[in-house]
């Protein structure tokens, strides 16, 4: 199976013109598998952190969404212990017009604006809902602990 041109193009653009605070580098032995880092957005409890993710483009891509997972532990209502992300565009709201870059920007945006109403990590979500400053504090702690640059 030859690699769709689109993937090559995206890879090249990510390298030549990276989105601020985001890197995505394909594995040498599997160009569909990317090592991703996302900087925590300023003004969020994740600021200053450097989060590692993995991103995999399935065979059907771009007709199917990429699979994205946090490798770095993170305290976030929409990201569970295994690093799975609850983001609509990664699921039913995927569109082939989206790209790796837009996906990662969405992930970055998710860090700025957690959505505890649609939780994946229910305990974190509950914490966020009941005690936002306390929860954010833990998020900050985790960021320092696990996502330090």
């Amino acid at each position: 199976m030859s690699l769709p041109k689109r993937i090559l193009k995206e890879t090249e653009r990510l390298r030549n013109d990276p989105a601020p605070g985001i890197t995505a580098v394909p594995h040498e032995d599997n160009v569909r598998y990317f090592d991703v880092t996302v900087e925590g957005p300023d003004g969020s409890p994740f600021a200053g952190g450097n989060f590692h993710l993995e991103l995999f483009l399935p065979e059907e891509y771009p007709m199917a969404p990429p699979k994205v997972r946090f490798l770095t532990k993170i305290y976030h209502p929409n990201i569970d212990k295994l690093g799975r992300i609850c983001l609509d565009i990664l699921k039913d709201k995927w569109s082939p017009a989206l790209q790796i870059r837009t996906v990662l920007l969405s992930v970055q945006a998710l860090l700025s604006s957690p959505n505890p109403d649609d939780p994946l990590a229910t305990d974190v979500a509950k914490h966020y809902k009941e005690d936002l400053p306390g929860a954010q504090e833990i998020s900050r702690e985790w960021t320092e602990k696990f996502a330090a640059k």
């Binding site: 769709p4 041109k5 689109r6 193009k9 995206e10 059907e60 771009p62 007709m63 199917a64 039913d92 709201k93 569109s95 082939p96 017009a97 790209q99």
Partner: protein, 933 residues
């Protein structure tokens, strides 16, 4: 009683008695021997005489005693007198033939005689020295022309004998050697001398054409020329008289010839056609690959061998000889002027060609002639009247119409033939020369065209064809009949010696064909070489690609349904044994399948263009949108800013060289072709959006715009953006552009259009479209030729080309001669835009010269590959300077693959007959041919 000489004599039934020297009958010959001898003795005059010498006899004779005799059998002089074949006696009896029906007494006798001689030869252990197949020919023997036959025949200095090397070879030949025959013919060709055409011929001939000219000229001027080709008649065998013991025989044993099929004997060499029948030089000229300049060769012949009688030769000034023929009277059906007594023989040439080629012939003849040296008239359709008027004026002037060449079409010929009841018109004239171009038009001997051609009176006859055999060996027969090439022109002879053995899978049949062809056929192939081993024609390369395409799921579904229906129907018919009766039905089913492969909408015989046009009303709305959008106020519901921008973009992009250079949001490539989601005006490539919508569908979701998620979006709603860059501006005014659709009639709108993406295109259409666009990217003024058998499909292609903004012209069977000519001119005209020539395979597959193009697209498969090759050779022929790219579109897993198989079989027939085969392949081919019928 040694030495008693017995004179053999009387016979009663099959008893032959012998007498002693004193005249007493002393005994009779054993009946098993006499049975075969009696017919020979019975013949009047007897063909053999017997004499015997007693070797051993009982000293006393008694009833039942055995006498050992040495019998001497002599063939009498009378035996060598040629008897006419029974077929020639019963000239009209076309239905009569060997191996069928009643035998006449003559025939019975002949059969018995034949059997007798065969038997006799067997008893005497006389074996043929050589068979006509000439397998004995060997390349290294070429120069050692020990050829007895050549010595006996008066040898013309014009031909190098490369005949059989009789003495060096054994009697039998293996099938593998058969191919030698053809090589032999070719090698002779190579050595043909050159001949310069007459001065009035203004073109330079290529070397091989000069050879051909010599060959043709010699054939026309010396009728027996072909007999010198040195080949034994295919039905004859050569024998040698056995040496008589005790007698000195000086020199070589004398040969004689025997025809085991008719029982004829001959002391003279029997050349490959019986001389007695060689009234006219009748010949074929074929070139397997067209584009070899057949017409030029004929033109040079017309120039070189002009006028009729030696009388004319006196006027040796360079002036054209006035023709004696008065055509005015000839072309008027009634009333006929009393023909003047002709002091000369006929001098005019009649060329019969397919309608589409008439103009080409005329221009070729014009091109090849010095000014005013050749008067050419087209006798066809409307111009018939003109001709009459013209010839009349001429006749008033000087009483003669100086017409050298008359060109007519098969159709005209047929109508003349039926109108005049085989007399009058064209048939009044005795032609000097009749030339059938694309002579395979008369391949069926029962058709009117064939009969009309047979009825032509001419001194010499020529057939030009690239495919002497199209379907069956019988195809060849019709040509032979036209040429009056005896004895093969007789259908029963042809069938007995060629068709029947061929059907019996006897490869020798092909042999016979080869020998026939060798004498009267000049074959030129592009890959032949001349004396120096150089290719006689150097043509640029040809690259043939078969592109196998996959149906879209919908097309597959439709096709499978049709296929399933057809198959069910066939199986039913087959089970009831009704296949034979419903043959046309089945053919119709096959036709449907072949059309379904091209485009499902072709089924049902829809003639008009595709719904691409029908959608235009929808498109027009959008086009309005586009137009209106330029103004300050937008009257459309969706005239939001974004849509405006998109349209502005489009219009701006239109002015760029490359058209729209936007990137597709899905594949990140330049959109090809760009499609618009109607509600939000977002754009993507067709394939991308279609893939996206299908994946939505498969997930059970509603389709949505990939960019903005507007839903619902259906495939059929999509609009394709069509940029029209290069149109032939005056196209609408040329009649060649068979528009027939509203598209071209529209007023010039902004050069952007939208086309609804319905199922109206098909895999093949899109494949063609994308190929053409790719070519255009590389060569903005490319010329391509597109062939299809179905004019309905050509209509669709027109629509697609319109959509893509590629100018086109068209040629099909419904067009008049004038329209065709104009189409050809239009295509040849140099312009700064690309051009595509849409040609119906039937109407334009032969003869046309389209060397301005170097791309060929075959949209469908014809049953016969040679027809396709002919079509390709419209482009790949002399005059072509660029590499030729040929693309065949085939849809995988459809009937087209099977057609290809059939094509292979047909090619096998032709290859077999023309001798162009490798060893063992002949038998293989035969198996293949008969394997599944």
């Amino acid at each position: 009683m040694g030495g008693s000489k017995a004179k053999a004599k009387e016979k009663e039934n099959t008893i032959v008695r012998f007498r002693n020297a004193r005249g007493f009958e002393v005994g009779r010959l054993p009946s098993e021997l006499t049975k075969s001898l009696t017919p020979l003795l019975d013949a009047s005059p007897p063909m053999i005489s017997l004499s015997g010498t007693v070797i051993d006899a009982p000293s006393r004779l008694s009833v039942g005693a055995e006498i050992v005799l040495q019998l001497r059998v002599s063939l009498t002089a009378a035996a060598f007198k040629r008897r006419p074949l029974p077929q020639e006696v019963s000239e009209e009896g076309k239905t009569f033939g060997w191996g069928e029906g009643k035998e006449t007494d003559d025939e019975k006798d002949m059969k018995a005689r034949k059997g007798g001689i065969v038997e006799l030869f067997m008893l005497c252990e006389l074996k043929p020295k050589s068979k006509p197949t000439a397998a004995s020919w060997k390349e290294e023997d070429e120069d050692i022309s020990k050829n007895k036959i050549a010595k006996k025949e008066k040898k013309t200095e014009t031909v190098e004998e490369t005949g059989e090397e009789i003495e060096m070879e054994g009697e039998e030949l293996s099938d593998g050697e058969l191919k030698v025959i053809y090589k032999k013919a070719q090698s002779t060709d190579r050595k043909l001398p050159f001949m310069e055409p007459a001065k009035t011929f203004s073109l330079e001939l290529r070397p091989y054409q000069k050879q051909a000219l010599h060959w043709m000229y010699t054939l026309e001027t010396t009728p027996s020329y072909a007999t010198n080709s040195g080949s034994l008649h295919p039905l004859w065998e050569e024998y040698e008289f056995p040496l008589e013991e005790g007698k000195m025989f000086h020199g070589k044993p004398k040969p004689f010839w025997f025809n085991p099929y008719s029982g004829e004997l001959s002391l003279e060499f029997v050349p490959a056609e019986s001389k007695s029948c060689w009234h006219t030089s009748s010949t074929f000229l074929t070139s397997r690959s067209v584009g070899m300049g057949k017409s030029i060769m004929i033109a040079s012949l017309i120039h070189t061998n002009r006028g009729a009688e030696p009388l004319d030769a006196a006027q040796s000034n360079g002036k054209p000889k006035k023709k004696q023929l008065t055509l005015d009277s000839s072309f008027r059906a009634v009333p006929r002027k009393p023909t003047k007594p002709r002091t000369h023989g006929p001098s005019a040439t009649l060329i019969v060609a397919p309608m589409s080629l008439l103009a080409q012939w005329q221009s070729e003849l014009k091109r090849s002639s010095a000014k005013n040296t050749l008067k050419v008239l087209i006798f066809h359709g409307d111009s018939r009247g003109d001709l009459e008027a013209l010839t009349e004026i001429d006749s008033e002037e000087d009483g003669v119409a100086g017409v050298d060449v008359v060109i007519t079409s098969y159709g005209t010929l047929v109508s003349e033939w039926s109108k005049t009841g085989n007399g009058g018109g064209i048939y009044d004239v005795e032609w000097k020369r009749v030339v059938l171009d694309e002579a395979h038009n008369i391949k069926s001997r029962l058709t009117k065209a064939a009969k009309a051609c047979y009825a032509l009176k001419s001194r010499t006859k020529w057939c030009l064809t690239g495919t002497p055999i199209i379907n069956r060996l019988e195809d060849l027969h019709s040509l032979l009949q036209f040429l009056d090439f005896q004895p093969w022109a007789n259908f029963s002879v042809f069938r007995s010696f060629i068709t029947a053995p061929f059907l019996a899978r006897d490869p020798k049949a092909i042999d016979v064909v080869q020998v026939i062809l060798e004498t009267i056929l000049l074959r030129r192939e592009k890959n032949m070489t001349d004396v120096d081993g150089k290719a006689i024609v150097e043509l640029p390369d040809k690259e043939v690609v078969v592109e196998e395409l996959e149906f879209s799921p919908l097309e597959r579904k439709i096709y499978d349904q049709i296929y399933h229906d057809a198959k069910t129907q066939f199986t039913k018919l087959n089970a009831n044994g009704l296949v034979g009766k419903n043959f046309s039905n089945i053919l119709a089913m096959l036709m449907r399948l072949r059309q379904a492969v091209l485009h499902p909408a072709l089924i049902g015989g829809r003639k008009e263009g595709l719904d691409i046009e029908a959608d235009l009303d929808v498109n027009n709305l959008i086009a309005q949108f586009a137009k209106g959008d330029r103004g300050p106020d937008v009257g459309t519901a969706n005239g939001d800013a974004f849509a405006k921008n998109v349209l502005d973009d489009l219009i701006a992009a239109q002015n760029d060289d490359e058209g729209n250079s936007d990137e597709c949001p899905i594949c990140l490539e330049i959109m090809d072709p760009p499609m618009i989601v109607p509600n939000c005006m977002h754009r993507t490539c067709r394939d991308c959006i279609v893939g996206h919508l299908r994946s939505c569908e498969s997930k059970g979701e509603e389709g949505f715009c990939p960019v903005c998620r507007t839903a619902p979006v259906r495939e059929a709603d999509l609009l394709e953006v069509i940029h029209k860059h290069n149109r032939i501006t005056d196209r609408d005014s040329t009649p060649t552009a068979q528009t027939g659709n509203g598209n071209t009639a529209e007023p010039p709108s902004p050069a952007i259009k939208f086309r609804k993406n319905s199922s109206n295109t098909s895999t093949k259409l899109e494949a063609l479209s994308s190929n053409l666009r790719r070519i255009r990217d590389q060569d903005p003024i490319f010329r391509a030729v597109v062939f299809s058998q179905f004019t309905g499909f050509l209509d669709m292609i027109e629509s697609v080309l319109d959509r893509d903004g590629i100018p086109w012209v068209r040629l099909d069977g419904s067009m008049s001669q004038k329209e065709r000519t104009r189409a050809l001119e239009e295509f040849a005209k140099p312009t700064r835009s690309p051009k595509v020539f849409l040609i119906s395979l039937r109407a334009g597959g032969v003869g046309l010269n389209l060397t301005t193009a170097n791309h060929v697209f075959m949209m469908d498969c014809w049953w016969n590959a040679s027809v396709e090759n002919q079509a390709i050779d419209r482009v790949h022929r002399i005059g072509q300077t660029r590499k030729v790219y040929v693309k065949h579109f085939i849809i995988a897993r459809t009937i087209e693959m099977r057609i290809l198989d059939i094509q292979k079989r047909k090619t096998a027939i032709i290859k077999g007959a023309l001798g162009d085969k490798s060893e063992g392949e002949a038998v293989e081919n035969l198996k293949m041919m008969f394997g599944d019928d």
